[in-house]
């Protein structure tokens, strides 16, 4: 009977103040959508870093007038360097072949360049791609070295943009969460006010505190859960529409977001939404009902 009583009170409470309930649910939904989005982005950036750093190379270009001795010295040094995982030597002919492949759409350019003009290079894979700086410091003054190029520098810019978007989404999520919490507090106060007579009688006859508070707290939790479901639907909608459009062009750059990754965000959103609403409602009641 008591469970039934509490549950029916929850529904009555949500319905009594339905405009406020809707406002509360929408703000919670937007906040949780932003939270879920930023969570996804965080995961993506992590995934992409793994993926790209796996294939990333540091290229050491040699001077055109490099001699045999300098080259073999450098080769030996690189092969024994603990920071380096793999060394590939690219000679002029091979460099030319790569150049041809890369610019096959521009035959004029290809025909203008002779294999002799292209520098020889060592292509390195590092044990830890983030240690590029120490490789650079170590080899930049070595004889015969012309230039050291790190591909990860370019990627860092991309990651920087993505992290920026993520921070932005997180900031909006927090601002919306504050608004949502104020709405939760307000809704609970209104609900408690409209039930003040019942609450006074319950306190008088010695109903336990949890029994008095449970309907209100659950009201907030239900709103939080509905908000998180709406937030999830928003994420799914975003994927459905964006996958066909603008995201498709980025397909090569950003690894696609799978359905399971979106669904995995739901426990986070529901957990945060439910818990935060519950705590807010409980704290509000402590002040408002003094129970």
């Amino acid at each position: 009977m008591r469970v039934k009583y509490v549950l029916s009170e929850v529904l009555v409470g949500l319905w009594r103040n339905v405009t406020m309930t809707i406002a509360m649910i929408i703000t919670l939904a937007v906040s949780l959508f932003m939270l879920g989005g930023s969570g996804l982005l965080y995961q993506k950036v992590g995934d992409m870093k793994d993926l790209y750093y796996e294939n990333i190379q540091v290229s050491i270009f040699l001077k055109t007038d490099v001699n045999e001795q300098q080259r073999t010295d450098l080769d030996a040094k690189l092969k024994s360097d603990p920071l380096v995982k793999e060394v590939v030597y690219v000679n002029k002919d091979e460099a030319y072949k790569r150049f041809q492949e890369m610019y096959q759409d521009a035959p004029d350019l290809v025909s203008a360049v002779k294999p002799d003009q292209l520098p020889e290079s060592f292509r390195l894979k590092l044990v830890n791609p983030e240690q590029y700086k120490s490789i650079y410091d170590q080899y930049k003054d070595t004889e015969g070295v012309d230039e050291i190029v790190d591909q990860s520098k370019l990627l860092d810019k991309v990651f920087g943009v993505l992290t920026g978007i993520q921070t932005f989404a997180l900031a909006i999520a927090i601002v919306m969460a504050v608004a949502a919490l104020l709405l939760v507090a307000n809704t609970i106060q209104v609900a408690a006010y409209s039930k003040r007579r019942e609450v006074a009688v319950m306190k008088l006859v010695g109903a336990s505190n949890w029994f008095i508070q449970a309907p209100f707290v659950l009201e907030a939790v239900v709103a939080g859960l509905i908000g998180s479901i709406l937030g999830l639907i928003a994420l799914i909608t975003l994927k459905t529409f964006a996958a066909g459009g603008s995201m498709a062009t980025l397909e090569g750059l950003i690894t696609p977001i799978s359905w399971s990754e979106i669904l995995l965000m739901f426990p986070l959103m529901a957990g945060v939404g439910g818990l935060v609403s519950a705590v807010t409602a409980w704290v509000t009641l402590r002040f408002y009902l003094r129970v």
């Binding site: 009977m1 009688v201 306190k203 008088l204 010695g206 336990s208 029994f211």
Partner: protein
Amino acid sequence: MTKTYPKASRPSLDNVSVSIEKGEFVFFIGPSGSGKSTIIKMLLHEVSPNKGRVVVNGKDVTSMRSWKRPHFRRSIGCVFQDFRLLPNRTAYENVAFALEVIGKTKAVARRVVPEVLELVGLGGKEHRYPHELSGGEQQRVAVARAFVNRPLILLADEPTGNLDPDTSIEIMRLLDRINRTGTTVVMVTHDSNIVNQMRRRVVEIESGRIVRDQARGVYG
């Protein structure tokens, strides 16, 4: 015990000591603001004394943790001047509500509630709403609600304050009947008529001090 409210210039109760035996019927009388209601609030553990102790039913209420308060309240029934009934519930439902929120089943309520409504003289009016009942009848519902859980103590804070003299006497008869079941009744009032008729113990308070404690007293 002594109770001083914050911002008050003098204590609401100043070094008051009173002991009430089980099964007694006690009136607390005195002018408004004399500190009578503070005593009720202390017995309910709504406020705590600054100095001294409040012992109810052998338990020191002063040191009781607030989470134990709900359970403690179940041993005390309360009746007020303004009835405090739920307007959207019938007489039966008002009494049953008090039982259900402390975890009693509907079956228990079905057995006990008609019994107690009969006891307070409301048999046949179970399904009336408060606005369909007279003031005296509403107070009877309140008494039924306070008594349905068979409390050890019944606190009545000016229960006849809103009632005409005849109705007041009926309510007093009811409280007297409840007292005879062994329930201690503590009543705060300034209705001299009633005090004079009942001839029970009277404790008079003035400006936070006990000025009289008389076994079979009058208002005087």
